[in-house]
């Protein structure tokens, strides 16, 4: 059975249908990429998976590890192992990054019947992960995402993912706003998590990211539908030819 199974998903926002029947099946250990022009519903799909309010799901289902994901609250989804790396991580003044990380880690540990993480253990863990991601240690003392550069925000998202060890991670335009060095660091962070028990859905507009996070499957999304699926070579084809023919097809 696939780890995540999206079946004929229809989603509207304020009466306007954005997703028009998405079906996607992702097995543990796989990396899928969804590419497509802007405004085609890619971010809607990631928000639906994470459980954001404000959408009407008119038809279809999303199953995660056999559970009805759409029936779960966002926090329960996260604790079950679903992670969304946000395209635009929000800045939350007053909440320190470290307090936030610790609370998130402990929420998951509590669900698993584990004791809260020890303060020293937490610091050691974060320091080790920071180093790999090129994040300065003092970043966790700052308020969550406040004043972080675009690159820092994306690194912080990957740091959170690394610490929370999800089973299924959606990366929503994680490459946007990154220079080539940051892109490589972020990709290395993601690649380090690739594992036979874990699956990824990488959403991107550009093929560039997929040079670093090499997908097993690539899907083209246009007009709220998946219009083509293929192997990693499909990404190169899109890079060369653009989305024009799919936009008209949709």
């Amino acid at each position: 059975m696939a780890l995540i199974e999206i079946n004929n998903l229809h989603v509207s926002v304020q009466g306007k249908e954005i997703l028009k029947g998405i079906s996607l099946s992702i097995n543990a250990g796989e990396v899928h990429a969804i590419m497509g022009p802007n405004g085609t519903g890619k971010s809607t799909l990631s928000n639906i998976i994470a459980g954001r309010d404000g959408y009407q799901i008119t038809q279809g289902s999303v199953t995660f590890d056999g559970q009805d994901l759409l029936a779960m609250e966002p926090d329960a989804r996260a604790r079950a192992g679903v992670f969304l790396a946000f395209q635009y991580p929000v800045e939350i003044p007053g909440v320190s990054t470290s307090a936030f990380l610790k609370t998130a880690i402990n929420a998951k540990r509590r669900d698993q019947g584990k004791p809260e993480i020890d303060a020293m253990e937490f610091l050691k863990l974060v320091k080790a992960k920071n180093k790999a991601l090129g994040i300065p240690d003092d970043m966790i003392k700052r308020p969550l995402n406040v004043g972080f550069s675009g690159g820092e925000k994306k690194r912080a998202e990957v740091l959170q993912m690394t610490l929370l060890e999800p089973r299924f991670a959606v990366l929503d335009e994680t490459d946007s706003g990154l220079d080539i060095d940051a892109l490589k660091v972020v990709s290395d962070g993601v690649n380090a998590l690739r594992d036979p028990s874990r699956a990824f859905l990488v959403i991107t507009h550009y093929q560039r990211l997929l040079n670093y996070i090499v997908p097993d499957h690539v899907h083209v999304m246009a007009g709220g539908r998946i219009v083509k699926s293929g192997g990693k070579e499909l990404a190169h084809e899109l890079e060369a030819e653009g989305y024009a023919k799919y936009s008209t097809a949709a």
Partner: protein, 440 residues
Amino acid sequence: MRATGLLDHPFREAYAAKLGALPGATQAWVDGLRQTARGILNASGLPGPKIETWKFTGLGDLAKVPFGPAACAQDIDVRDIPLGVPRIAGARRIVLVNGVLSEALSDVIADPAGLRIASLKYLLAREPQTLKPILGGLAASGSLPLAALNTAYMADGVVILADKDFPGTTLHIISIGAAGSDPVAFHPRHLISLAAGARLTVIETHVGLPGQSYLANPVTEISVAQNASLKRYVMVADDNDAFHLAAASVSLAAHSSLDAFHLGLGGGKVRQEVNVSINGEEADCRINGLYALNGKQHHDLTTVIDHAVPHGTSSQLVKGVVDGASHAVFQGRIHVAKDAQKTDARQLHKALFLSKGPAVDCKPELEIFADDVQCAHGAATGELDPNHLFYLMARGIDRDAARALLVAGFLEDAIVTITDETVRAAFSNVVQSWLKRRTA
């Protein structure tokens, strides 16, 4: 006939008669102060809803309570400092029960060189000449009705005199309200006077014991001389059936500073009023605050900062969270006189609604008569940002915990304005427990 909009009240002849002779009554000037104040009270009563600055804080319910003077209540015996009072490490505790200094509960230690602490009662009886220059001058009875009520019946309080260049210490004045079988009122008068170059930190904690209603009516007169600096941290956490009507007036001389923080956690009806006169150039006034209210609590922070001379700075950051059917009021008037060029005055008030029931009234007022000044004010009220909530929940944090994190985060930038680390930690703990009680 009383003037329109003013309330009748229980603090008239019968009340005065019960109090009998007040300390210092034989001093003509003290008696004069009291007579003037009593005259104001008798003539005009307490401020009613038609008085502009009292529009949002009605005293109709107070006027109906048959308060007697706390000094005459016989059945009150407070043996311990209540648990709700934060322990401030290194601070000398001065405890008042119903406005009267309690030697039994206070830390009895010798005053350090350069600092004198005495009770108002003692000084009124034994050394009235010490008080003459500092009592009644600042809190002009007419402009502050609460001060008039206090002046009419002041019987005790804490007098703190710091000599020139006193290097600083921390005092914690703990005020415990405790009505016995009948409602009581008390009117402590505190005087804080810093000579040139002196430094001092004063924490005032107001708490109460459950029981009949009481009215705490403390008035503090503060004078900060040249180059002196005062840190003043006030926490009001009175009983939910209690009234707390406080007024403080502060005079700042050149190059002096007031660094104040007002924490409001209750009381049934609370008004903290602070009037600051910046009388010397390059004085700096900071009045920050935080309130957290629920149930039927009412909390009013009203400040007036008067920039009378050039090159003064003032800043205010007040943040609050409201829940239940509570009512918060913030009124902040900044007056910049014609001559007060190069004034820099900033004010920001933000309130967060935790439910649909509460009300918040905010009235910033800038009166600027100088032309070369920097003044800014802002006010905002709202609810938690759903995007923030979603972000935290998307990381596995449940809704209640996420809300608690966000509310604490909202209040954090007010907390960090408390420059004394020990007090900051103590007040922060108090706020954290408020938040925990709320979500528990």
